[in-house]
Assembly symmetry: C2
DNA sequence: TTATTATAGTGTCATTATAACACTACCAAT
DNA sequence: ATTGGTAGTGTTATAATGACACTATAATAA
């Protein structure tokens, strides 16, 4: 690469960071690792890392999702690129942040790994390295916004789910209660889920109708919540 | 910077590119330059360039807006980071794309500069270098989306403007006619513009009320169009 | 002075979307 | 047969949207 014609050009280092959301214990969790190197050694941080040679950032994120969370093919989208000079004490390090959504059952990380990957509730985050708190907040607002006009919620639900589960997932992420009747009315009118011929039974209660998403691709909807 | 501990790490080069929109001849224009170097020599491209040492991308864009378009302090936001391996024949070059909005009267580039900066109508773009067509399309959809829930239109209008000018600007960007009465009703109900005690006269027609934006900061609105 | 031209400005109504609200249905377990 | 616990269901008032056409005003030309 002969891009260094300009004497002044000096490349920043480039990393990716992943904000991996999941639903846990009826709350929204995000995966954090414990840094094993300086700077911020032993501090919690988003999983991420430097690009390897000729690796596009999207590939790097996929690699990190695989290696650090054991997930593959989950919903992933680029969030924002952070490159303030003071975000990393080592100097100018640019990070392309992504966010991903995974049902918790799909996650396969070993809790005993050296980096101790672990989920934290978004509302109870520890002190974080770099500008990772800011990145998580940014991801959270993007996630909330997208809930309102896309179907990405499918990434957080099992294949078959009840209306209550669906509504609860919305409530957890939006952080507010929704009216059951209005929710059902609106969601069914979108025509993106369909009831299946199965019910979910439980002890001492009326069984609930199960639904599926008709399509499992990310779709933009005109109207939503 | 001792970030190269990992043998594999090899930084991509980092550039910024700016999609500068303006309204021209009752249409939406975007600023393009003519590349004076390989690759894509003599081909039209977005103004942009490599980061200089320790320069955050936001500063680099401001520098480019100043140097290549003569504008300063205009509305600018980060768009997306493009880093496909095949976007640049020189190799892995990551670009952080931004979009900016400027009223055409503020632009002060010299048409005779070696790079021949020039506005092109978005609907009549020439062949473009790299993935710049894709970047412009992405910027255009972002701009259209943001028109619906922010006040960024102020960046494209003079300080004092008529309802017709405002509506026309919306129509140009959205690419469709809007109903005059509904437009006025909605826009006034937002409470973000106010009539001033002046009218705009013209030959052989009824003078039009002039308005101003109450605030000239970018604001998110709950409801819009 | 009158007529013409061009754009500004104004209201209603039907339809649709939203938001608030509470009770009955069903199954399982006791 | 009773109880516990979640599922499921409609109506109504209010607000937002979208469709629609005529009058008002100033400048200019006749």
């Amino acid at each position: 690469m002969n891009v260094n014609k300009t004497k002044l050009y000096y490349p920043p280092a480039v990393t990716v960071d992943a904000v991996i959301f999941t639903i846990q214990e009826n709350d929204l969790g995000v995966l954090l690792i414990e840094r094993s190197n300086e700077p911020f050694k032993n501090c919690r941080a988003l999983p991420g890392g430097f690009l390897v040679k000729n690796e596009p950032s999207a590939d790097a994120v996929a690699r990190i999702l695989k290696d650090k969370a054991g997930i593959k093919g989950v919903y992933t989208e680029q969030l924002y690129t952070f490159d303030n000079l003071n975000r990393d004490p080592r100097g100018h390090i640019l990070t392309v942040a992504y966010f991903a959504l995974s049902r918790s059952s799909a996650l396969k990380f070993k809790k005993n790994e050296k980096e101790h990957p672990q989920f934290f509730l978004v509302k109870k985050l520890p002190t974080l390295a770099f500008d990772h708190k800011k990145i998580i907040n940014y991801a959270l607002s993007r996630l909330r916004a997208k809930l309102e006009y896309t179907n990405i919620i499918y990434s957080l639900l099992p294949d078959e789910f009840t209306m209550s589960q669906l509504q609860k997932t919305y409530e957890i992420i939006l952080g507010k209660k929704l009216d059951k009747r209005n929710f059902i009315k609106k969601f069914l009118s979108l025509g993106i889920i369909k009831p299946i011929s199965k019910k979910l039974s439980g002890p001492r209660r009326r069984p609930a109708q199960l639904y599926r998403f008709i399509s499992k691709k990310s779709v933009e909807l005109k109207k939503f919540f």
